[in-house]
């Protein structure tokens, strides 16, 4: 891991590991910052519930469809913010649930929990409650 050299490198908005990239995200929306805020509010409303479905269902093969779908939704939701790390973690859970690989799921779910928490913190900072 290289040391950050300036402020931009340390910022979660512009870091190479892409917790999120709001500049890119705003560009994708055609510059509509208000829409980005609305999408962030959607994330605040839905992400925890989707994560709950994953958390409560991943050990149960009967719930793998629900887990797969919740992970897929988390991937779509986080894609609005250029959140590559969360998208990667959600995609891993989605694929493992689809293949019912129960022994591989716990670390992947833990990873997803961490990434969603980081993204949530970043978005809360960028979009404080009005």
């Amino acid at each position: 891991m290289t040391q950050p050299t300036d402020r931009a490198d340390r910022s979660p908005l512009f870091a190479g590991d892409q917790v999120m990239n709001l500049r890119e995200a705003t560009h994708r929306l055609g510059g509509d910052e208000e829409l980005l805020r609305e999408l962030a509010e959607m994330f605040f409303e839905d992400a925890e519930a989707l994560l709950g479905v994953v958390r409560e269902g991943y050990a149960d093969p009967a719930q793998s469809q629900e887990v797969r779908r919740a992970a897929h939704s988390l991937k779509g939701l986080s894609s609005n913010f250029g959140a590559q790390r969360t998208m990667t973690a959600a995609f891993a859970v989605e694929k493992l649930a689809e293949a019912s690989r129960l022994t591989d799921l716990p670390p992947a779910v833990q990873e997803l929990e961490q990434e969603v928490a980081r993204l949530n913190a970043g978005l809360r900072e960028a979009f404080p409650a009005r």
């Binding site: 994708r28 055609g30 509509d32 959607m42 779908r69 897929h72 939704s73 779509g76 609005n80």
Partner: protein, 161 residues
């Protein structure tokens, strides 16, 4: 007010249809199960002046197409209840009879699945074009604007006939 000023600053390609034809008379049905993707589609196209409706799965899309005339359908592929490929086949078949939307309506598939096999499956179901995910507002407006211009040209020909 802000969106009005922004629309004036948009590059030409994004406003051609709205400028030359009546975009508000171009009805787009957006079919997408993911709420945040749906919001993105509705807002970007609504901002372009199009008349936009939304459905959350294929079943609802078929029901809406039966009731109302749509000039373009943007169809996600992976959805619960009824997927986009099935919904496209039903709309294309014209059965049961669609009162509102002609079975020949342009249907643009949207999906992250972008392998040749996927694309031929979408085309076989009757999707006329394909927009791979992820896409941005500019690409979305360009593809809808192109469809709008084609439809406006068709209407003009019918009018002149």
């Amino acid at each position: 007010m802000r969106s009005h000023r922004e629309s004036e600053r948009r590059p030409r390609v994004e406003t051609t249809c709205a400028a030359r034809h009546d975009a508000s008379d171009f009805r787009v049905l957006v079919v997408e199960d993911n709420p945040s993707n749906r919001l993105f589609l509705v807002r970007v196209l609504g901002g372009g002046g199009f008349d936009v409706s939304a459905a959350e799965d294929g079943e609802r899309a078929v029901a809406l197409a039966r009731e109302r005339r749509y000039d373009l359908i943007l169809m996600d592929v992976e959805m619960p209840n009824m997927d986009g490929v099935t919904a496209t086949s039903i709309i294309r078949s014209g059965r049961p009879r669609l009162e509102g939307t002609p079975p020949s309506v342009p249907i643009i598939g949207i999906s992250a699945k972008n392998e040749p096999d996927d694309r031929s499956r979408f085309a076989a179901a009757g999707m006329t074009a394909f927009l791979p995910k992820p896409f941005d507002a500019r690409a979305l407006r360009a593809v809808v604007d192109a469809a709008c211009r084609r439809t406006a040209a068709c209407r003009q020909r019918e009018y002149e006939r």
